[in-house]
Symmetry: C2
Subunit: 201 residues, 2 copies
């Protein structure tokens, strides 16, 4: 419900009705509305962060010395683009919530940074190993672009379906995921490869 209408767009009464309990019970367990929201958020973030960190560790170990941008991105994104996960309404809604939070001007940046910066820093370290001459600054700019494309994907807002007359579908994660990797890997290379250092990669 939060993912569909935002924090203020849902009432505790609606949530309680959906859970078939009374609003008093929500207060019993979560104190206030914000407490409920935080619980929803934190529970799934914790699961994802472990999976993503493990995926990147495994990748780094298995391909030590021969890291690629594509490989690092696949490890980083894997738990977010797993088709099985996108068939689960609970996860799908959480992804949409993350997308909404991400583009929220006042607290979005702070919340995303607080919960996701460790995994993102790990990704950037992996890519820095894959491209040793990359300027750190450009890695951050590149990640920003990746993050935007990823969050719009997770929002599942249906825009692409309308724009393309149903040639492509926002929800088609099997089609989207490999293209996200390909698009962003090329983008990373374009940014980190300065004109001053021709032919570095």
């Amino acid at each position: 419900m939060f993912s569909q209408h935002g924090f203020h767009g849902v009432t505790l009464r609606e949530i309680a009705a959906g859970a078939r309990v009374d609003t008093a019970l929500l207060h019993y367990y979560f104190q206030h509305k914000q407490g409920l929201f935080d619980a929803v958020w934190a529970r799934r973030v914790a699961v994802l962060n472990v999976e993503r960190m493990v995926a990147m560790d495994n990748y780094a170990r298995a391909h030590a010395g021969a890291l690629t941008i594509e490989g690092a991105l696949e490890a980083f994104l894997g738990p977010l683009t797993d088709p099985a996960r996108h068939r689960d309404p609970g996860w799908r809604n959480f992804f949409a919530l993350a997308a909404l939070v991400s583009n929220s001007a006042v607290w979005g940046g702070e919340v995303m940074a607080r919960f996701f910066d460790p995994v993102v820093r790990r990704l950037i370290d992996l890519i820095a190993q894959a491209i040793p001459l990359a300027r750190r600054e450009e890695l951050f700019w590149s990640y920003h672009m990746l993050s935007g494309a990823l969050m719009l994907t997770l929002s599942n807002n249906g825009r692409l379906d309308l724009l393309s007359n149903d040639l492509c579908h926002t929800s088609d994660i099997e089609q989207m995921a490999p293209r996200l990797v390909k698009f962003c890997a090329a983008g990373f290379r374009a940014l980190v490869q300065p004109a001053e250092l021709p032919g570095t990669c």
Copy 2:
């Protein structure tokens, strides 16, 4: 106010107080809360859409026969990344609102499509001319990535500042804009250039 807290996160009382009028006056001019929101939205969208269409027309005329992805993107993005515009709080807030709307699961896609599809279709036509062998499908997927990166930029959520320890700033549009073009141009090329047609571009 809508851009900071969302439609439901702001009350007509707060808006009226901010405008130093009474809530009754808001109803006199805009009927209901939704009417006010729509007016805020539509007014600036109209300005942007004209500018962007003109910019792309001018580019197409000036470079007929020698179109590039970078050139098309610059024309498409120019009115959104103009530093002067980003110094204006009214425009900055509108951009943040667009970013929030974009990642809203229920109506975001529909609204964005309704208001922006004409300019986006024009962009895609330009890029299709620049890369005649590109598959239409891949142009749409590519635009999706561009759109995500752009909207996160416009959200101005401050995440990049925290992630990079102030090495990069979300609000630094002069740094961001050329990188957005470079990153996405490379992404477009990577997606539209199929492995089956090596060396097309």
